[in-house]
Amino acid sequence: MYQDFKYLISDGVCAIASPVSGDLFTKFCPRFIDGFVVTIELLALSSTLGFLLAVGLVLARMSGHRVLSIPANVFVYCFRGTPLLVQLWIIYFGIGSFGAEGLGPLWAFFKEPWLVGLLVLTLNTSAYVSEILRGGLVNVDKGQAEAAMAIGMSWFQSMRRILLPQAIRIAWPAYGNELVLLMKGSALISTITVLDLMGQTRTIFARNFDLTTYLYATVLYLVLAGLITLFVVAIERRFARNLR
């Protein structure tokens, strides 16, 4: 069903694009669109999961309990302090090198580059997003937290109902930047053999060594960046509606 929908989109786009684009794009159009869709799927999933994880992380970091805050801080520090490519390769090639014997039932997960890519993108973005949310929380007016406590809310209630919603609104523009960075970072999962937009582009390039391949990919990535920006601005407008 979903697969049929993807084919439909792919056929439609290619039919529209073929008269206006070059021979190379017409020939490889289904591949480009397929990669484009894989990239979007990964982005949608990893940004959603990453955001949820980031909320958990920021709660742990701000909780004041060392048992929670120290591991969360270490996690964020490690993921922000190392390149995404290293994280990908540690988990896919590093852990994956133990194979079926070493990993047992986990092997079903680690042999799938798509799943590993999703995991690493999620973990990576959650570290950055938790830092952004923390910045937002710090900038929420102190009186808000005091008022929430004064009417008898627990720490968790005040976070969930008062502080985090406002922190998200404050942090939203920075979060938009992070979404674009995540999109750009997602190109790296092509190095662990996922056929996302970048992966498809590299396969096509390997076949014909035609540099225009990269130019088409560039255009598609710019389209994606534009779509993300539109989405971010639309949400920002929604947030601003209540403030007028």
Binding site: Y77, C78, R80, G81, T82, P83, L84, L85, V86, Q87, W89, I90, F93, G94, I95, S97, F98, V180, M183, K184, G185, S186, A187, L188, S190, T191, M198, T201, R202, F205, L211, Y214, A217, T218, Y221, L222, L224, A225, G226
Partner: protein
């Protein structure tokens, strides 16, 4: 020394292990990042000048360039620069009547790609810093009769750094981490050495983890440096 080497196993220094190779890789990573930053700062300043210029086409060029770099994956830019410069040089050589088949130095291609990225982000930082210098200071400088060039050199430029350093510090971390992409075009920097070592010794997790720790060490030291530089840039400013 012998004893330590035995303890390190595949990570030993010297002929038996990869310890010295990894450190050499880390050194290439650092020089790659430093070269990219130096070039990127230079072109970033030029781009910021273009963006603030009164000549519209220059402004348009700078805007389109930054939009392009910010929307396209670093990995793709690096590959375009790597394969593009290769093609460009060889076509030029052949059309001039020389033989083709020249290989572009990978280090040069990586520096070109990374500094192109650095410049786009640095441009935004410099532009912000330029505008952040208080208007009154510029007016005062003109009022005491300094020429526009002197106003820039003595008043605006020295103060710009104060506003630019936090952003540039972040950008340095970004470029330091982005150098790892050069492993994909087979430049022998830290990550690529770790990959080679891991594959040869059959212990990829160990080698990639060591590489990760070395990156963590580099970003940790950079962060210290950034804090120091920020403090130094703020010296003499009434404290907030």
């Amino acid at each position: 020394m012998e004893y330590i080497n035995e303890l390190l196993g595949p990570l030993a220094f010297g002929d038996t292990g990869w310890g010295d190779d990894l450190l050499r890789g880390a050194w290439i990573t650092v020089t790659l990042a430093l070269c990219s930053m130096a070039l990127g700062l230079f072109f970033g300043l030029l781009l910021a000048g273009a963006k603030l210029s009164r000549i519209a086409p220059l402004r348009w060029f700078a805007s389109v360039y930054t939009l392009f770099i910010r929307g396209v994956p670093e990995f793709l830019i690096l590959l375009i620069v790597f394969f593009g410069s290769d093609k460009l040089i060889n076509t030029a050589l052949i059309s001039l009547g020389f033989e083709g088949g020249v290989e572009v130095p990978k280090f040069g291609a990586a520096v070109a790609g990374l500094s192109a990225i650095f410049a786009a982000y640095a441009c935004e930082i410099f532009r912000g810093a330029y505008l952040a210098v208080p208007r009154g200071q510029i007016e005062a400088a003109f009022a005491i009769g300094l020429s526009p060039v002197k106003v820039f050199r003595r008043v605006r430029f020295p103060q710009m750094w104060r506003y630019a350093i936090p952003g540039l510090g972040n950008l340095w971390m970004v470029v330091l981490k982005d150098t790892s992409l050069a492993a994909v075009i087979a430049l022998n920097e830290l990550l690529r050495i770790a990959k080679l070592g891991g594959e040869t010794e059959g212990s990829q997790l160990l080698f990639f983890t060591v590489a990760g720790l070395l990156y963590l060490l580099m970003t940790f030291l950079s962060d210290r440096g950034r804090v120091w530089a920020e403090g130094r840039a703020r010296r003499g400013v009434a404290g907030v």
